[in-house]
């Protein structure tokens, strides 16, 4: 079985993130780039599936120069090879364009399963997995908290607000995973050393068969018109209990529509 895991390099989750004032895109220079945390769960799941069923894991990322660090980390966790899709024409691509570009890049390889994290910690739209499945014309099994494969059939627990649905499809398929699904391994030193020798194929838009007019900031279906700094946290409301503390608390919660 061949599994492609799509990963993204994002600004450090714990760092203060900002938008660049001129382009209103994420300032990638101001914080350390890291592998999107949710993608580590996708990699772990792919590794577990191939450990159980045999096969190989290919890591695909689209990003600027330096995004290969995200691929290297996945390789040091145990993935077998990587694909780095990088081209200045892709800068500023929105989710629609990204799903198109990734779908085209996936056309350069064979696969039985595509796994993604269910969201990236920078934009947090959760759009790409579903869009990608549509682009590829494959079944989409999103927000998976459990994945099982039996022959050519795949069954996942799909996390919902009230519990989970059990959904089933035939391979090939696209799966997005949530953090509940597993506990990602840390790379070992042996894995780190081995990652150096694993192949990473570089693709630009031409090599991936991407129409440059359909990607990048100019082609984005949405535009960020304005951005403002998050207001500083307000001091909150202090309730002094003069025998009516309970009532005042209830009034506050009611005003906030919590009760």
């Amino acid at each position: 079985m061949k599994i492609v895991v799509c990963v993204k390099q994002v600004p450090d989750t714990e760092a203060e993130k900002r938008l660049l004032p001129d382009t209103l895109t994420v300032d990638r220079e101001s914080s350390n780039p890291v592998l999107n945390e949710m993608d580590e769960f996708a990699i772990e799941e792919a590794l577990k599936l191939t450990e159980a069923h045999g096969g190989e894991v290919v890591v695909l990322t689209m990003g600027p120069d330096g995004a290969d660090a995200a691929v290297r980390k996945a390789l040091s966790m145990g993935a077998h090879s990587g694909i780095l899709l990088s081209d200045p024409a892709l800068a500023g691509s929105d989710a629609v364009a990204t799903s198109y570009a990734i779908a085209q890049a996936l056309g350069t390889t064979e696969y039985d399963l595509v796994i993604l994290g269910s969201e990236a910690s920078d934009a947090r739209t959760s759009l790409v997995p579903a869009m990608l499945a549509e682009r590829l014309g494959l079944p989409q099994l999103t927000f998976a908290s459990k994945v099982e494969i039996d022959g050519t059939s795949i069954t996942v627990n799909r996390l919902t607000d009230y519990g989970h649905d059990v959904v089933q499809a035939q391979l090939p398929a696209v799966v997005s995973v949530v953090e509940k699904i597993n506990e990602p391994r840390y790379p070992s030193f042996k894995g780190i050393m081995a990652a150096k020798k694993k192949p990473v194929a570089a693709l630009d838009v031409a090599a991936a068969g991407i129409d440059a007019a359909l990607v990048g900031q100019a082609a984005a279906a949405t535009t960020v018109v304005d951005a403002a700094q998050r207001p500083p946290r307000s001091a909150g409301v202090k309730v002094t209990d003069e025998g009516d503390g309970g009532v005042k608390l209830a009034e506050f919660l009611s005003a906030q529509k919590f009760i």
Partner: protein, 385 residues
């Protein structure tokens, strides 16, 4: 001439940093309070391959080197010294002597489990009557037929009484040399051998989530084949073990020094006094500058000693200097970090309180500061009294 980390060393360092931050930091305080060995954290360190770092892949190791181990120790000790010393003792005292002096059979038998962290090894050298004076060993081993019969007491032995302790290598007097000096050999004693009594854990000032015990041996019988290395070479082998171990303790000390900087900088931002963060006070800034300087210099000192060791140059004096400097710097940084934290620094729930308690032993374990000064002075060929 470049002392900065290669891409692979940096990737390892960053991985252990992430693990220490995400897994160790949130959990270790409770283990420390309860003086409990953190089995789950140690198991995770094992799965990451930390216990196999400097050993070849054929024995289940990671194919790295001693410097890789030092980087891991520094990053763990930035957050907590108990897990760092568990790793240090497990690798450099437990497994390394077997790797370096063991027969092929002994390596096959013990190393894979020690490398995976499923099993911990301990090294029994110190006795109630002598630490630094290793030649004063009183424990005896007598060859009776095809068995060694061991009698004696060992104290302050790290990792010797956990549920996963698999072996204790002990030094024992096995006879006398032609010149009348004691013949000392190392012998592997599997955990659970009849006659070996493991005392309850010591009540320690620091390192409270690590396992330290006194061991008594009464007619403990092990096969003659459990001799580790040549008979009569136990003391010489042990000295090599200690020289390396000093670099590891220097790395661990550097981590503690850096952890004190990390915590204090955070606190200096957050803590308000007289209308501004205390970090705006020059008195605090100068303390922090000196603390960072000590952590930085410590790192350079142990990198240098490790680099000499890896290239096969003499490193005894450099290891002693690194151990001496780094441990004294760690004690100073821990004291200053506590001072910056004020009353909160005296509360056990604050990491700096743990670091303060953990720091003092660094000037004592694996050769006291006084022994290090002796070694450094001896290396200059000064006249003898």
């Amino acid at each position: 001439m470049d002392h900065r980390l290669s891409e692979e060393y940096e990737a390892l360092r960053a991985t252990v940093e992430e693990f220490a931050h995400d897994v160790v930091a949130p959990k270790i305080g409770a283990f420390y309070e309860r003086e409990e060995f953190p089995y789950e954290i140690v198991a995770q360190m094992g799965r990451m391959g930390l216990f196999g770092l400097p050993f070849p892949e054929e024995y289940g190791g990671m194919g790295g080197d001693y410097f890789a181990l030092c980087l891991a120790l520094e990053e763990l000790a930035r957050v907590d010294s108990s897990v760092a010393i568990t790793l240090e003792a497990g690798v450099s005292l437990g497994a390394m002597p077997i790797h370096r002096f063991g027969t092929e059979e002994q390596k096959q038998q013990w190393l894979p489990k020690l490398c995976s962290g499923e099993m911990l090894g301990a090294f029994g050298l110190t006795e109630p009557g002598g630490g630094s004076d290793a030649g004063a060993t009183r424990t005896t081993a007598v060859l009776a037929g095809d068995e060694w019969v061991i009698n004696g007491t060992k104290c302050f032995i790290t990792n010797s009484g956990t549920d996963i302790t698999g072996l204790i290598t002990v030094t024992a007097v096995t006879g006398s040399k032609p010149d009348g000096r004691k013949e000392i050999s190392s012998i592997i004693v599997p955990a659970g051998t009849p006659g070996l009594t493991v005392a309850p854990k010591y009540s320690k000032v620091g390192w409270n989530a690590s396992d330290t015990r006194e061991l008594s041996f009464v007619d403990v019988r092990v096969p003659a084949a459990n001799l580790l290395g040549e008979r009569g070479r136990g003391y010489a082998n042990f000295l090599r073990t200690l020289d390396e171990g000093r670099i590891a303790i220097a790395a661990l000390s550097t981590g503690l020094s850096q952890g004190c900087v990390d915590e204090s900088v955070k606190y200096a931002h957050d803590r308000q006094a007289f209308g501004h963060p205390i970090g705006a006070n020059q008195a605090i800034q100068f303390k922090l500058a000196d603390m960072r300087l000590r952590a930085h210099t410590s790192r350079l000192a142990y990198y240098d000693a490790a680099s000499r060791m890896l290239t096969g140059e003499p490193f005894k004096a450099e290891a002693a200097m690194a151990k001496l400097y780094c441990s004294e710097a760690a004690v100073t940084n821990a004291r200053e970090a506590t001072q910056i934290h004020g009353g909160y620094g005296f509360m056990n729930e604050f990491p700096v309180a743990r670091m303060w308690r953990d720091s003092k032993i660094l000037e004592i374990g694996e050769g006291t500061s006084e022994v290090q000064r002796m070694l450094i002075a001896r290396d200059m060929g000064l006249p003898e009294a």
